[in-house]
Amino acid sequence: MLLEVKALEVHYGGIRAVKGIDLEVEQGELVCLIGANGAGKTTTLKAICRLLPSSGKIAYAGSDITRAKVHELPRQGLVMVPEGRGIFPQLTVEENLAMGAYVRGRVDAERQYATFPRLKERRTQVAGTLSGGEQQMLAIARALMTEPKLLLLDEPSMGLAPMMVARIFEVVREIAKRGVTILLVEQNARLALELAHRGYVMESGAIAVSGSAKSLLEDARVKEAYLGEAAS
């Protein structure tokens, strides 16, 4: 098991945003986490990355990381692409990528440029001036620069035009094919489930349904609430 989360609870002051969830990601898997706005998906990812304090167990690659510091995790191959991309707006594309390689100390962006030719064209451009889709690609490329084992993606298709959404999902598929394990948070439930091996459905801080992606695509409740189909 690459990632094992047990009885995870996260509080914002008095608000219990994540209410004791269990979640597992096997080596090489693509797992998606879907759910409505405010369900607690981002909160879960942030807790895994130690951006938020939590109770419960989080084991990564066999060791407990609840006491780890945020900046120690990329070194171990656990990297998140945050919601809203989180690029460094005043750094150039190149510099953003270099920050992804910061822990390894060796900047070799060519491989990312091969996947994202658009970024190569824009390499000396300040990242804040990129389009939304380009920024999302930069955020993913930057995370790949760390050579992750487990990639956490928080709504990579958010706010993008349909063409770009398709492109982003294609990229996610490619990354998974390379052997990177992925935990994908998405609002685009159908696309995410069509791509993933397994899925979890989160509702107000708890896991409501989980199972193989195929079974979730056929689940009556999931169909009605997240896939926009009337229950039959």
């Binding site: 510091k69 900046h71 990329p74 460094f88 707006p89 920050m99 910061y102 804040g128």
Partner: protein
């Protein structure tokens, strides 16, 4: 003598020192949005430590340049330690507190440092021993001394080195990344506590050198010297756009020049006799000057007020298109 040219030379010299001090304010502000009011005190400690060491070594008969270098060599690490200490002990615990808390703490740290200096060195003014023979060179009606040349050379070298560090190295890029988005910088594996500490240490090291140069230029150092120098450098940082590194350099140099030209001409402009007022003092080519060059400090604060009123973001602050 050509007043304009001479005041330009003097202004550039003082201004390059302001610029180096201003970098300490602007780097810290850029990375944690804190106005570190104690930075002026770090500069003062640099000057005091260096002067003490230099005065101690004068009887040893070492070559003067070696003595000055040893003095500065003691001041820099001590100031770096002070800079690191204040970040670690005073500011880091308040990193997530409301912004007023660290600001007030900075004022407190400034007072504490000034009083520690008072306890160590008392109120005495330390004098810089005249061990380096100063020669003057003349360029088009203005004199420039060897000390002024040295100050200009050292300050511009420091600024160039810092610019290279910040804009051309991974550490510098990490500093800028942390300034723009500390949370994501952490997610990329950057230890932001370390980067912030390094920022304080660099600023303090620069401040130490600036303190030694400033003290050497005016020949004296005292425990109160950090207040006015710090405020001027802070004004310079605001003039350039606080948080902006090239801005601090530009602001410092400009402020030095404005101040020197102001001091050079304020007497002529406020000479009541020149206005044609028939006073007894004016008879036989006399003068009656309202504000003499001792009002020179006023200009820095005048500049600060004007900037805050007309261009609060500073000359180079907040470039368009930098926001995502």
């Amino acid at each position: 003598m050509d007043t304009f040219l001479q005041q330009m030379v003097n202004g550039l010299t003082a201004g390059s020192v302001y610029a180096v001090v201003a970098l300490g304010y602007t780097m810290v502000y850029g990375i944690i949005q804190l106005i570190n009011f104690a930075h002026g005190e770090v500069v003062m400690i640099g000057a005091m430590v260096a002067f003490s060491v230099i005065n101690l070594l004068v009887p040893s008969g070492l070559p003067p340049l070696a003595i000055v270098l040893i003095g500065a060599g003691c001041a820099v690490p001590i100031c770096m330690l002070v800079g690191y200490g204040m970040e670690r002990l005073a500011y880091r615990p308040l990193r997530h507190a409301p912004r007023l808390a660290p600001l007030i703490t900075a004022i407190g740290v400034s007072i504490i440092l000034q009083h520690i200096a008072l306890m160590i060195w008392s109120r005495n003014i330390l004098a810089f021993p005249q061990i380096i023979p100063s020669r003057s060179y003349f360029i088009g009606g203005a004199a420039i001394t060897t000390i002024q040349i040295a100050i200009l050379a050292i300050c511009f070298m420091l600024m160039a080195s810092l610019a290279i560090l910040v804009y051309r190295t991974p550490l510098g890029t990490a500093m800028r990344a942390t300034a723009q988005n500390p949370q994501v910088a952490g997610l990329m594996g950057i230890d932001i506590n370390r980067v912030i500490a390094v920022t304080f240490i660099l600023g303090a090291g620069l401040g130490a050198v600036a303190g030694v140069l400033f003290g050497t230029y005016y020949g004296i150092a005292q425990y109160t010297m950090g207040s006015v120098l710090g405020l001027k450098a802070f004004s310079a940082a605001v003039l350039g756009g606080i948080g902006n590194i090239p801005g601090a350099m530009l602001g410092g140099v400009l402020l030095g020049v404005v101040e020197a030209l102001g001091a050079g001409y304020i007497g002529d402009f406020t000479d009541v006799c020149a206005w044609g007022v028939p006073l007894a003092a004016c008879e036989g080519g006399g003068t009656f000057i309202l504000f003499g060059s001792n009002y020179q400090d006023v200009f820095a604060f005048l500049v600060l007020i004007l900037v805050l009123v007309f261009r609060p973001q500073g000359l180079l602050g907040e470039r368009v298109g930098d926001r995502a």
